[in-house]
């Protein structure tokens, strides 16, 4: 199949970057870099950058490099060379224009997906370096506009989408009411102290995809589970502050999240199908607060569906007929090793599962993750163009349905499907589970 060519603008205008750069002074840049190098990172970062021998073994790992005709500037080492290497070489004496470009590179050309890190013989993690670059840019006040706005939303509301407290509760009650047409005694129990688990979602669910909450509630009610959702902030597990480098807001959000669970006295938190949120609750956010592991165990939806199917709490009435393929989300596959469970679940639910290649922990990133899609419309063409290799990977499966158990992947893959005119539809696992499960008779 011949894929259409996506044109990328030569110069992308973004107020967050451009106006941020105008306000930035040389002094501030040097202070920030000194603060980060001496107080926050230093040794690990220097070792990474100094150890890199530019062998290029990681280049083929990066979807951006592969998708942009192997242009070395999109290779992992190339992105480091254009950002952190210069900062180190110049001892932090870089210009506001440099910081602007570094921010664009780190925030929109790298997904911090860590695929490259798997192939580096020295164990260098370019994703880590890109996140340090973002941290420096955050402290310089130069971050792409839309993701900065999202970080502000996290700071004010503790959710990603400026969802107000009443809107959240109202949405849950409205989904509960709708679902009662299908299951008259269905409940979305709010603030039920001592329930077995708290279900947490990401901000876009109440905002745009409330049907997913309906589906989850339906599945949990059919399975007869003792669960709850908080009526108060802390319900959103997502985290764009983690990706803008605003670690303080990242930590604050995770504190809200875990303390919601502690207050509700639940034994674990089950989260919806999201990749980056998993990284935030399982790795970065909790650790910033000094919780080495999530203080209340986190169970990703894939693991939970696996549990529901293997224990027989959810039974399949008739398997899904259409051919499906799976996009393995980096954060739950490389970050948590859920690939085999995902395959078990999909094979239980679907008749015709087709692998894309490469797959499992070797899967290419969707190029939406790591906050890239959250940088918004200005960078959309670049994002789609930078993942031509993913489009090809999907097209080669010939599947009708593309399953992505991750929100950012989901939206990113929809753009890829549309941009490259692929004949497929993107779905979450829960869409299919809800469709094929045994449902109780109403009556």
């Amino acid at each position: 199949m011949v894929l259409p060519v996506i044109k990328v603008e030569d110069k992308i205008i973004d107020d967050g970057l451009d106006k941020g750069m105008e306000k930035l002074t040389q002094d501030r840049i040097e202070n920030v870099i000194d603060q980060v190098m001496s107080g926050e990172t230093g040794a690990r970062l220097k070792a990474y950058v100094e150890t890199c021998v530019h062998c290029g073994l990681c280049s083929d790992a990066c979807h951006a490099y592969l998708s942009r005709d192997r242009d070395p500037k999109f290779s992992p080492a190339g992105k480091v060379k254009r950002t952190m290497s210069v900062i180190l070489k110049k001892g932090g004496k870089v210009t506001p224009a440099f910081i602007r470009d570094a921010s664009e590179i780190a925030s929109t050309e790298c997904n911090a997906c860590k695929r490259c890190a798997m192939y580096c013989p020295f164990g260098i993690d370019p994703a880590y370096i890109m996140l340090v670059v973002r941290r420096i840019c955050h402290l310089c006040g130069v971050t792409p506009l839309y993701i900065q706005d999202t970080a502000h939303s996290h700071a004010v509301t503790q959710n990603q989408m400026w969802v107000k407290e009443d809107e959240w509760i109202d949405t849950l009650q409205w989904q509960e009411e709708d679902a009662r047409e299908e299951m008259p005694n269905l409940r979305i129990p709010l603030d039920k102290e001592g329930a077995d688990f708290m279900y947490s979602v990401i901000g876009p669910e109440p905002k745009f995809l409330a049907g997913l909450i309906y589906q989850a509630a339906y599945i949990f009610n059919v399975a007869g589970l003792n669960w709850t959702m908080p009526s108060f902030p802390g319900w959103d597990n997502s985290d764009m502050a983690m990706y803008t480098g605003d670690n303080e807001i990242m930590g604050r959000n995770k504190r809200f999240h875990f303390e919601a669970a502690q207050r509700l006295k639940v034994k674990r938190i089950v989260m919806g199908e999201c990749g980056h949120a998993f990284r935030s609750v399982y790795d970065m956010g909790n650790r910033w607060l000094s919780w080495a592991m999530p203080p209340v165990p986190m169970v990703h939806a894939i693991e939970f569906y696996y549990e529901l199917l293997t224990t027989g709490k959810i039974k399949v009435k008739e398997k899904y007929k259409k051919s499906v393929t799976l996009h393995d989300p980096c954060n739950v596959v490389r970050g948590r090793g859920l690939h085999e469970k995902a395959r078990y679940v999909i094979n239980e639910l679907c008749e015709d599962f087709r692998e894309m290649h490469p797959n499992r922990e070797h899967n290419y990133c969707c190029n939406a993750g790591g906050g890239v899609i959250n940088c918004g419309p200005p960078f959309k063409n670049k994002r789609v163009a930078n993942n031509r290799v993913k489009a090809k990977q999907c097209a080669d499966t010939g599947a009708e349905i593309l399953i992505t158990p991750c929100h950012n992947c989901h939206s990113g893959m929809e753009d890829i499907v549309l941009g490259y005119k692929l004949d497929m539809h993107v779905k979450f696992i829960s869409d299919i589970m809800y469709e094929v499960m045994e449902k109780p008779e109403i009556g």
């Binding site: 700071a155 407290e165 005694n185 409940r187 902030p233």
Partner: protein, 421 residues
Amino acid sequence: MVDSVNWDWTTGEKLVSDINEWKASYNWVEEPYASPDGEKVAAIVNTDEAEFNVCENGKAWEIEAPFEKAWCLRFSPDGRLTVIASMDSAWTVVADGEPWEESYDFVWDMRFSEDGKTIAAAAQQEGEYMMVKDGVPWENSFGFITCMALSPGGENTAATVQTVPLGQAEVFKFQKGCYTAAVNGDAWDKNFVNVWNMSFSPDGSKLAAEVRLNLYDYTIVVDGQPWEQTFGCVWEPIFHPEKGTVVSPVRTAEGWTIAEDGNIIWDSRFAQVWHQKISPDGNKLAAIVATEFGRWTVAVDGKAWGVTFGDMVTDAVFSPDSSRVACIGTENQIYKIVVDGKVWNSEFDMIWKPVFSPDSKDVIVKIEKDGKRTFALNNKIWNRMCDEVWDPVFSPDGSKILCRTVEDGKYYRRIVPVSEF
């Protein structure tokens, strides 16, 4: 605080209501709540399609028309049964079957004063936000409200409010400060980038909050005035009950510690400090701390206990005589009680906040083990395993414990002598 002197401390066992029987009268019965004195048990019940009521000791409230929706059923500390309910598509608070006069497009975050006499909630009316205290809304409303607070004595309400409207992605306007706190609807005259976690002084006359001055500098504000010092991060401020000073965890370059009115008062630095508590006599300060990455405990006056936990430490509480501290420590998802740095050997699947006896000698907790709930007193588990129990209450003389339980679906009120455990 609520005075329990007049409660029945003599009747050993009372079967208050058989909740199983309620189930025959309703389509469903939601999770039950017990009154503080244990004499009542209640639940939201579904009476018909989209029709709800509250059932108390087996009897439904006599209300003019069923509620269209009802949630957040709670007993106030003084024993009033309270729920947030909607009637004719409008929401209000209903206490003992009596709704507030005014209703709103939405009501949430119901809270009580310590004596239970005052009820407050957040409300939204036509997209405008305010707090409502005992049915009386703020005169001013705002485009956004969060972090609601009610003073312990019920005198005043406060919340973070938005005072400058923000369009989509107006990040630079946001960074100039669009939020502040409002007390009884009156906003402070200074705006901040963010305002979180407010706390009233014990008499309700002063308000402290965490703020972010720009994207990077954090501090504490008291009645609108920020501390001179700024920090890399701060957590919830509290007022010193005796001195009237404000005490908060703050993050310095060397680590987390405690500051009072902006000045650091602990010599020690930790990987984390939060949930600080001042002893009832005002002489000690305890907080939950991480002594190093991933190791949690309690520190009293900056000195950490020797025992640490890997998952978390929660629910630290001082004894009434200020001499002791109890908390919950979790390691590998096993929950344990720690009192004064010593760990009880019993292991649980869940533990609720420890409760000290009035003389500070005994500690009792609500626990869960193997799917059953009961109490553990001074490391001894009660012999009765229940479907549900509520926080235990000591009699004023400390010799007896009020145990509120559900066993085989029946709700019991029991008075158990401490010696019987």
